[in-house]
Assembly symmetry: C2
Homo-oligomer: 188 residues x 2
């Protein structure tokens, strides 16, 4: 008996994601979102409690998108798995600057270096690849992650503009260099 919905939660979330891409989180206002959708603000507040909930949906969608970047580079097999993780992170920063800034360049107090059990998978891989002890492998990973995050955040702010091929070479430099450094220290 009631009229059909013209808009779904998903459509609104997508429009909000696009707005965030274009104008950053601050550009995501109720009226701007309504214009993006071609409607008034009413449908937004019918389907979402408030703008905070919309921002939450955008955050969640951005995280899913990031995961798809990781999965894609993992599945492509172009790089070994450990490197693929870094390349996916950087590719996401390069192609989704605003979303990267929103997810990874905000205050992150209390957030672990890697979520959940990911560390439990990564560290053994490094130990196997490098022959380092667990403790050394963890420090090695920290330093690699610093490097990866450094590239990604410089690209996200347009301070650097590297092709992914160049990024690959630079990551190899860091990996091989640190590996040599850590393995040499191991022998002492």
């Amino acid at each position: 008996m009631p009229p059909k919905f013209k808009f779904t939660r998903n459509e609104i979330t997508n429009a909000a994601l696009n707005l965030t891409r274009k104008a950053g989180p601050d550009g995501l206002t109720a009226r701007a979102l309504a214009e993006e959708l071609g409607c008034s603000v009413k449908p937004i507040f019918d389907l979402f409690k408030n703008m905070e909930e919309v921002q939450g949906a955008v955050l969640s969608a951005a995280q899913d998108l990031y995961q798809s970047y990781l999965a894609e580079d993992m599945a492509a097999g172009k790089y070994p798995p450990y490197k693929a993780g870094g390349m996916g992170y950087i590719r996401f920063a390069r192609e989704e600057r605003e979303l990267f800034k929103m997810l990874f360049m905000c205050d992150r107090k209390g957030e672990p270096l890697k979520p959940g059990k990911e560390m439990d998978v990564i560290i053994p891989v490094i130990m196997k690849n490098t022959g380092l002890s667990r403790e050394k492998a963890e420090l090695f990973h920290l330093e690699m992650w610093i490097f990866v995050h450094g590239i990604a955040s410089m690209i996200a702010t347009s301070y650097l503009d590297l092709e992914m091929e160049t990024v690959s070479g630079v990551l190899t430099d860091a990996y091989m260099g640190l590996k040599a450094r850590f393995c040499a220290a191991e022998e002492e």
Copy 2:
């Protein structure tokens, strides 16, 4: 004949800098600044054209403060000059998180890797320290700078919390590792 000024441009700029430290650039509003100063908004707009000019003064003051961090670590002589630059950058990020984010984690399109003639000083130092060609030395510096910026930005967002001693060790790892990597490649 007129009443004395109760506030100077400098006092206002300082209060604005403190507000930015506490609440970030978004926390720097005319009313909040007035409260910090213990006055109405009028003196602010008497001494500054508008809030944009206040923000400009804060930016400038933050840059000066950053330069003082660099100068201090350079003068201390605790680290070699090249390393001191990185340590100063990271120490600034650690002790002035909001100011660091404002200066170095915003959009930086068109900004050169290093301002002015600084590169002309740094590259020869690296060439001397490592024996690399100019081209290789520039890539080496880029990769070191990525590393330094990575640490600094992770600390600024509270994603990492490292003592400066730890930072020093990590920087040494990166420097020695990359140096080994680059010098080995040089010999091919």
